[in-house]
């Protein structure tokens, strides 16, 4: 997030796109509701009718994958009406002319043809966003998990910059991260091309700095993304896989394809709390300690690095992840010895500018938000205050592209996937909780009553869903939260493996993120 969670309350307008906030980020939804109750305007754009749509001044259901068109349409209106922040654009950004030229083509009529959004609604939501500063834009996986994920994100930034909302309190472009520590994992270099603080591996100076600190030469080649790993496994180029705290057997697109790839591996190691679907097929399982059993830090979606404190010692022979990695490294010939995670943190802070001013003592209970470059720096509640990281904010002129797969005669329904409030990801932790299990015991498919009538199915009937990749069965849940023509599957349930249907071939060319949010399927009633 460019801004902080608490600041959302002080926004003049909150625009939510591609985030089912009450279900997936409930405590951020709390801020949204508070903003609304204090008088902010609320706009929700989502292919589904989410809980927050109820409270919105304008709520639209744009067609799956049509985000760029919708956002370009909003910018078209802003420029036409003169609602854009001219001084801000002139002094702080570049690339405006190309953007103006591009969005001039996105007339409300054209946008309606692509997105299905009524021109009146489009104009009203645009007016609310552009004329109630500061506007806080929130998005989540509904923006990123597309073949055009990067374009979608850039379009969100274009819109916010056009109104001068980036670098101001209460505004910003705020991606809501999927896990408590996914921001921290990325900050720590959990990506194939960077080390900590997004320092590129390809940069020789960076490699030199780290080689010196670690007393070992670092390879210059970047690693593989998971999307690239799967073909490499199939081609036999990747022979061993070490999975830490992930359950790709359930979470990766095109289940059949991925399983086929897994079988080609010579060796699979999984480090997990529980025997997840992936751990069950591993050659070696390393027992990781749970959050209650380890010390360390998490960095959350608002860049706030916070301490976690061990409540109990690890049970059985499980170990904290850092200890397992140290032992493994030592066994493989590079001696890695630390007495505690604080030592590791201090080493990292010494090598990473955005964390340089942090220490366990300073983080305390409240945490610190990066960038925090020195020991007296109070942390940064919102980014890009006086200038952007790269100097000037860049507008990207982006044309709309269709998702990789659209419904056709054979596969007439849009399928989108996501989460429900009671479960987390593949359910490895939540499905074993009796209180959460009571909420939702198994998978289901959300279908609009009108579609159900056409399919001649009723609430609770079993249906077979098929895509070009495979078939699964699921019980029907009738709901008006999905629009007719679209069905929704939650991703948490191993017995209803949603990702049998999704497409591994369709991913964003840059970010390599798979298009989980759009596939085409057919549905028919299961006849026994």
């Amino acid at each position: 997030m460019t801004n902080s969670i608490a600041e959302i309350e002080d926004a003049g307008c909150v625009f939510i796109i591609g985030s089912n906030t009450t279900a997936c980020h409930p405590l951020i939804a709390r801020r949204v509701i508070r903003a609304k109750e204090k008088g902010a305007k609320l706009i929700v754009a989502d292919p589904r009718n989410i809980q927050l749509s109820r409270f919105a001044d304008v709520a639209v259901n744009h067609r799956l994958g049509s985000d760029v068109a919708l956002l370009n349409g909003m910018m078209h209106i802003i420029i036409k009406k003169g609602w854009h922040a001219e001084d801000y654009i002139a002094s702080r950004t570049e690339g405006y002319d190309a953007l103006e030229e591009m969005v001039s083509r996105f007339t409300p009529e054209k946008v309606q043809a692509i997105t299905g959004v009524d021109p009146g609604d489009l104009e009203e939501m645009t007016r609310l966003y552009a004329t109630n500063p500061p506007g806080s834009l929130l998005y989540a996986m509904g923006i990123t998990q597309h073949t055009t994920g990067v374009d979608n994100v850039k379009s969100c930034c274009n819109l916010a910059m056009l109104c001068g909302y980036v670098g101001v309190r209460g505004g910003g472009v705020n991606p809501l991260r999927g896990q408590n520590n996914v921001q921290g994992a990325c900050d720590m270099g959990g990506l194939p091309n960077v080390v900590t603080g997004y320092q590129p591996v390809a940069d020789e100076a960076v490699r030199e700095k780290f080689s010196k600190a670690w007393g070992a030469e670092l390879p210059a080649a970047t690693g593989l993304t998971i999307t690239d790993m799967i073909p490499a496994m199939l081609e036999g180029k990747l022979k061993g896989l070490y999975v830490i705290g992930e359950n790709p057997k359930l979470s990766d697109p095109d289940w059949n394809h991925f399983n086929h790839a897994l079988k080609r591996l010579d060796f699979l190691v999984v480090q997990e709390l529980f025997l997840s679907e992936t751990a069950q097929v591993a050659d070696v399982v390393l027992a990781g300690a749970s959050v209650a059993e380890k010390d360390g830090t998490f960095t959350n979606t608002e860049r706030r690095c916070m301490r976690i404190n061990k409540a109990i010692d690890p049970i059985g022979n499980s170990l904290a992840d850092w200890e397992i990695i140290c032992r493994l490294s030592t066994a493989m010939g590079y001696e890695m010895r630390y007495d505690n995670p604080e030592e590791i943190f201090d080493e990292m802070a010494g090598l990473t500018k955005s964390y340089a001013g942090m220490s366990y003592a300073r983080i305390g209970l409240d945490g610190l938000q990066w960038p925090c470059p020195d020991k007296d720096h109070p942390g940064t509640p919102y980014l890009h205050k006086d200038q952007f990281t790269r100097g000037k904010g860049m507008f990207f002129a982006l044309d709309y592209k269709d998702p990789a797969e659209l419904p056709d005669e054979e596969y007439p329904y849009f399928l989108t996937t996501g989460r429900m409030f009671a479960h987390f990801h593949t359910g490895t932790m939540t499905r074993i909780s009796p209180h959460l299990d009571v909420e939702q015991k198994t998978g289901y498919v959300d279908i609009h009553p009108e579609d159900a009538a056409k399919m001649e199915v009723r609430d609770g009937d079993m249906v077979v869903l098929s895509s070009r990749r495979g078939d699964i069965e699921a019980p029907v849940r009738l709901t008006r939260s999905v629009a007719p023509g679209t069905i929704f599957l939650p991703i948490h349930f191993g017995e209803v493996p949603t990702n049998v249907l999704t497409n591994a071939e369709a991913f964003d060319p840059l970010a390599k993120i798979p298009e989980f949010k759009v596939s085409a399927v057919k549905v028919h009633k299961l006849v026994l």
Partner: protein, 273 residues
């Protein structure tokens, strides 16, 4: 006070003392023990409130003979009374150190910084319910207005169960809110108003108006007013003052006799030193 608590722990008057300890400038609910008696020096009495008696109930469920010392405001004491009445704790096993308390229809003269009115947004005032209203004002809404306002508030619910989990007098082993024949499960929006009404009905004659549920509710739903309403009905119909009466409620939705076992809904966590 600290000296007294230390001597209780040293002499074994109590096995544990539940209070608050200052950690990084935050008062944190804390379980003081003889083994770490020096921690008592960091004990703080502040406006911070937590249902310490809920922790006590969980402990007693694990070890029925445990003797517990507790920092208690008036709301904690009312909750303790209810827990004694419902056989969740025994009065002999609890000793308290008194601290300042909060105003409530159940006790008029008191102060509690938590209950100082925060700001309630204009939109909420217009369509929802101002959490600081008096119950009479809420009862005075016409049928349609009342319905609209309550349903606006309930529609915000994200079913986090914070209200149940914090409540000092929610101790049932099996919770009706988890029962899918009583309250629909699955999607958000939850089953409204059933979810809230089922909980409200179970609070009649039990809720001691501490307001912790409302404090915990991330959506600022005026839960305290809702439970004041059920208690008001219990008071009007039966002249029963929850939390001060030593008798079981004359009227109980749970059944006429209390047969529940002292079992918490989840194992003890959080208070461990």
């Amino acid at each position: 006070m600290k000296e007294q608590i230390k001597s209780w722990l040293e002499q074994g008057t109590v096995d544990v003392f539940l209070g608050y300890r200052e950690v990084d400038h935050h008062p944190i609910p804390w379980c003081f023990t003889q083994e770490a008696i020096e921690e008592v020096d960091d004990l703080v009495v502040s406006p911070a409130r937590y249902s310490l008696e809920k922790i006590a109930t969980h402990m007693a469920a694990e070890d029925p003979d445990i003797r517990i010392g507790m920092l208690a405001r008036d709301c904690n004491n009312r909750a303790l009374n209810v827990l004694y009445v419902w056989n969740q704790l025994r009065p002999e096993q609890v000793v308290t150190v008194e601290a300042n308390c909060c105003p409530s229809p159940l006790k008029e003269h008191a102060d509690c910084s938590y209950l100082e009115p925060g700001t309630v947004g204009a939109y909420k005032k217009a369509v929802g319910i101002d959490n600081h209203l008096r119950l009479e004002a809420v009862e005075a809404y016409g049928p349609e207005e009342g319905r609209n306002r309550w349903m606006y508030e309930f529609q915000k619910c994200i079913k986090c169960y914070g209200c149940r989990n914090i409540c000092p007098v929610c101790f049932c082993r099996e919770c009706s809110l988890d029962h899918d024949d009583l309250v629909g499960t699955g999607p958000l929006l939850p089953d409204i108003p059933i979810f809230h009404l089922v909980r409200a009905v179970h609070m009649a004659g039990r809720c001691i108006d501490c307001g912790l549920c409302e404090d915990a509710c991330p959506m600022d739903i005026p839960l305290r007013l809702l439970y004041q309403k059920v208690n008001r009905i219990a008071m009007d119909l039966f002249d029963y003052r929850t939390g001060t009466s030593g008798d079981q409620p004359p009227f109980s939705i749970l059944g006429d006799r209390v047969t529940l076992e002292p079992k918490p809904i989840q194992p003890v966590t959080g208070a461990e030193a």
